[in-house]
């Protein structure tokens, strides 16, 4: 009797245990391990030996490093450009696809293709297209009489070339996500609006957008986090150059940890990125006041 009563009380926790163990193993433990590494001096050279506790020194070193400061500025440009354009283009296309056109299903399938391609392959494709010596873009510019653009070698332009590649690669997710959101809106609401004489633009503004809000917030949070953490395109297309002009903080983290073997410095950048992601997510939720 007693055993039964204890089991009944413990039952919900037992059901939660597998999920909690997975969370602990794959999220909480790595996060705390990362914190531990960031507070010690860990490099490739002393990886198998004792690690010295250095406190906040790794973080202080980072903020003194002009290349890291540059990388934060580049991250801001990359994320702002990518998110604004991915969201804007994605919303436009998903709205157009929702206009009950016969081919919308086929078009949706076509729009999804970039998202199914590996980021590295996409990066190589854009690297070749943007090449200033034999890339197709400058070739076409020349054919129509426009001056050639130093897509990857001009420090003022290079990050926008990577943003273009990221828009091509990432927008399909927004299209898919917002299309799913649009389809979840009850069509009778639109029918009622038509009977009331509402224009398509007004029903988009006053029906679609408000009802899509939860989808928009989640979409914005996800694409922002992905853009903050993403470095495949920059790594392959430019290696972060020239002059660190395309080194985002995530690429800086990768290079510190794996190219230079400075694991604790890499871990510190990783934690800063976690904080950035959390702050951005909080701001989105607050701004759009999602219940």
């Amino acid at each position: 009797m007693l055993f039964k009563s204890i089991f009944r009380k413990a039952e919900p926790y037992l059901f939660l245990t597998p999920a909690f163990v997975i969370l602990l193993l794959f999220l909480i433990f790595p996060l705390f391990w990362n914190v531990y590494i960031s507070l010690h001096d860990v490099s490739l050279v002393n990886l198998l030996q004792g690690w010295t506790y250095v406190g906040w020194q790794n973080f202080l070193d980072l903020f003194e490093d002009s290349n890291f400061q540059t990388s934060l500025k580049v991250t801001l440009e990359f994320v702002a450009g990518s998110v604004a354009l991915q969201f804007g283009i994605g919303l436009l296309i998903s709205t157009l696809l929702n206009q009950k056109v016969r081919v919308s299903g086929v078009l949706l399938a076509i729009f999804i293709i970039p998202w199914t391609i590996s980021a590295v392959i996409a990066a190589f494709s854009f690297k070749f297209m943007f090449d200033e010596s034999f890339g197709i873009l400058d070739y076409l510019f020349e054919k129509i009489g426009l001056p050639s653009v130093n897509w990857l070698s001009d420090p003022n332009i290079v990050i926008w070339s990577v943003v273009i590649a990221n828009i091509w690669y990432g927008t399909p997710f927004t299209i898919l996500f917002l299309t799913a959101g649009t389809l979840s809106i009850n069509p009778t609401i639109y029918e009622a609006a038509v009977i009331d004489g509402t224009s398509k633009f007004k029903s988009f503004l006053h029906i679609t957008l408000p009802l899509l809000k939860p989808f928009i917030v989640i979409n914005l949070i996800l694409i922002t986090m992905w853009s903050v953490n993403f470095f495949d395109l920059q790594l392959v297309m430019t290696g972060g150059g020239p002059m660190f002009a395309s080194t985002t903080a995530s690429l800086y983290m990768y290079r510190q940890a794996f190219e230079f073997g400075l694991l604790s410095k890499g871990a510190s950048v990783g934690l800063i990125l976690v904080v950035i992601n959390l702050v951005v997510a909080f701001i989105y939720v607050k701004l759009l006041r999602v219940r």
Partner: protein
Amino acid sequence: MNVKKIILICSIILVISLILLIGYGFKNPITAQKKQVTLTAILSEPKERWDILFNTAQQKLNEKHPNMDIKIDYTVLPYDATRTQLLTAMAGRTPIDLVSVDQTWLGEFAQGGFLSDLTDRAKSWGKEKDWYQTNLEGGKYNGKLYGIWAWTDIRAIWYWKDLLSKAGISPDSLKTWNGYIANAKQLNNVLKDQGIQGVHLVGASQSPDMWYPYLWMLGGEILKQKTGHPTKGTYWFPAFNSTAGIKALEFLKQQVNAGIRPQINHFWGEEFADRKFAVMLEGSWLLSAFPHEQWTNLAQKIGLLPMFPVPEIGRKSATMLGGWTLGIPETSQNKDLAWELLTTMVEPQVLTPMLQKEGYLPTQKPIGEGPYAAYLNSSIPYYKEMISMISIGHIRPNIPEYPQIAENIREAIDEVYYGIKDPKQALDEAAAKSSKVLGWVN
């Protein structure tokens, strides 16, 4: 189905299985007794070279050990991923028997305790004297041998004969700095309508590698030993910002001023093979950008000057030697067998066919100059000229801090390319950052 039937079916299955097992045992009596050993390896692309080497080496190893069935399980990864994978293996203490290590990574992995000290094994082996001294030293860290430098590459001037001829340029005029720049302008003028650029200038992450030869030919060094280090007594100190370094970087600046555009994308010779450049300073791997069947007549189309341009005639040129060393991790559970595999792979009769197929250069004198040389000379275009460059070849430091120092030098080169700083200021700042990395300044 009753119990009797089940027992009957089970008995029949059992008898058939026993007959098959006994029959297999008679057919393969030795295999059944052989000790199964699988050697694991993490290696860098391209895969073909390892396929060629392991194919022969595995066979030889099995012949040497008839009581063993030795298999080699190797993973071939892109350059960056190889380093990441080695790091992961090191952190996880994964048992691996053989690794390919870029010569500049050797110090990090040796200092970190990942690579085994091969000094004593090499002494018993007695083949060290066959290696070119520079290549032998490249496998050492702190006086101990951690890697066997298996093959190397050199960098030299490659040119399209017809394009130079069209521009009325003699290849010999590319030998000096002034001639190189004047001809670059001339080539650009003549060839720009065809979408061909005169000469190639690396602007990618490898830019320091193409600057070092100018530094070395002027008597400069990347690093030099200095006393008074706060913790290490005598240690390496940045020396690349010397007068030689500044003069070498000024030559790159002159190239940019002459309209030569630094190429941020580096396609390892493909851009030359595609005739996008008339002249290219590139490694010996450039040959692999041409199909193998074209190699016989390649010398009729493209030319090679076995040098980097020099400031004035009479000055000894220099080049950089790159390549891969083979090492045995401390985590290997088959160190003896791994060493046997390694030494078998670098045996001239095993290695030479791979060098011939891939166009790499040997690090051993018996292959470079000995009986195998004639074979390679007849099949690799400009082999003799490339081999002659080993004597003017230098290597990069393989200390753990080198990747960060190279990054500082790359930044300095970029700053000069983009006109942000002059060579002296850029190099001095890079040297200051590098001395911090080396622990001279807190």
